[in-house]
Each structure stands twice: as C-alpha cells, then as structure tokens.
C-alpha cells in the first residue's frame, strides 16, 4: 500500500514555464488536497476535491489549476511559474469521515520542492 505518491520530488522552473505536479493515492479516498508550505509558515490549502469531477478553491488558488478525472489522481498545474510559487507542495487525501467516527485523518505525500528562478 503506497499511500499518497507525489512526483517530482524536486524541480527547478524558469519564470513563465509551466509544469504539473502529479499526485496519486491508492487508498480509495474521496477527498484530496494540495497544500503549499512556505518557510516559517503553516500549510496553506491551494485546491481540494471531494470526489472525481469536483474541485474547489482553497485559501491560495491563484496561479494554479487542478483536475480530478479519477478517484486516484489529483494533478496540480502551474501555468506561468512565478518566483512567489517557490515552495514545498504537499498532496494529501482522506475519507470524508474516519471509519471509526473519530475525525478526519489526512494522509500526506512526501512533498515536492519547487524553485522558480
């Protein structure tokens, strides 16, 4: 059981380039998320999805796009990379309800380090 898998782990982009961060999970979770983590800051939610075909903006969606064509995959696209998008990106997933009814456990990927120069 691989959990949440993100690729690539590291990437350097030039300003204006585009790229897609891939995320896949094998736990059959309905909910998936993309967070970014800036130095000294908490995780900020970029986009989330409550199921295939449904996506919603989080706290910091500008400059990003997502799609959710399958339950397993939730790619994050940067169309015109900017230095402000230099960050660590985390994909995560969860059930809507913990199966024991004790809250939402969110499972994270290992992170993708992105530098825009």
């Amino acid at each position: 059981n691989a959990g949440v898998t993100q690729t690539p782990k590291f990437r350097i982009l030039k300003i204006g380039q585009s790229m897609t961060l891939q995320c896949t999970q094998d736990m059959n979770h309905n909910y998936m998320y993309w967070y970014r983590q800036d130095p000294g800051m908490g995780l900020k939610l970029i986009y989330y999805s409550v199921g295939a075909g449904i996506t919603d903006k989080g706290e910091v969606p500008n400059g990003y796009n997502v799609s959710r064509s399958t339950t397993e995959d939730f790619p994050l696209r940067l169309e015109l990379a900017a230095p402000s998008q230099t960050s660590v990106y985390f994909c995560a997933s969860s059930y809507p309800h913990d199966r024991r009814g004790s809250g939402n456990t969110i499972y994270f990927g290992e992170g993708s380090w992105l530098t825009v120069v």
């Binding site: 998320y33 908490g42 939610l45 809250g103 456990t105 969110i106 994270f108």
Partner: protein
C-alpha cells in the same frame, strides 16, 4: 474565520525534561483539533486528535474550550521527539475542507 496560532517557531528542551508545545485556535463552531508531526526527511503524519483522547508516543493534548487551546505535552522528552509539529483545526466534523494548519513548532531535544 478559523485560525490556528502556534506562538513558538523553535523550542529546545533537554532529554528527560517536560515539553509543552502551545496551540491556540479561533473558531466559532465545535472544533476538531489535531497534532501532526514531520520527522526529518519524512512526510507529515497524524500524531493525535482530540476526539480520540489518546496518548501517542507519550504525548497527550487536552482541548480547553475556555482558553481555546490544544497544547501538546510530554512529561519526559526523548531525542527522537525532535521534529516539526503542526497543530491543525478541523471545521465541521466530517468536513475535511476546513482543515487549517498553524505555522508549526520545530522541537529540538538536546542530549
């Protein structure tokens, strides 16, 4: 709006000493609170959640609604506890969309 505040970015304690990582929250509804931990070179993982009232790796956290706090405590810190700790606030129960993270506290346990 919901908010999570972790006032200490860095915290150092000696091995065997008690440790408390502070977390305060702001939320108008019924909160669901979590502590997540990120060990060096590992992914973020759930440490504990208030609704379970559990103790994990010797850590406990009690929700104090009067003080709107959810501080993480351990009576005797170990070197392997060194990690980044995040407090997180869930909105409505079952609404994963509302999870808000604090800025994190880097705990270092000195030998």
């Amino acid at each position: 709006a919901q908010r999570v505040t972790q006032p200490e970015k860095l915290l150092s304690v000696f091995k065997g000493a008690p440790v408390e990582l502070k977390c305060n929250y702001s939320y108008s509804g019924s909160p669901e609170l979590f502590w997540y931990v990120q060990y060096s070179r590992q992914r973020l993982q759930l440490l504990l959640r208030h609704i379970s009232r559990e103790s994990i790796k010797g850590f406990t956290a009690d929700l104090n609604k009067g003080e709107t706090s959810f501080h993480l405590k351990k009576p005797f810190a170990q070197e392997e506890d060194s990690a980044m700790y995040y407090c997180a606030l869930g909105g409505l129960s079952g609404s994963a969309r509302q999870l808000t993270f604090g800025s994190g506290t880097q705990l270092t346990v000195l030998p």
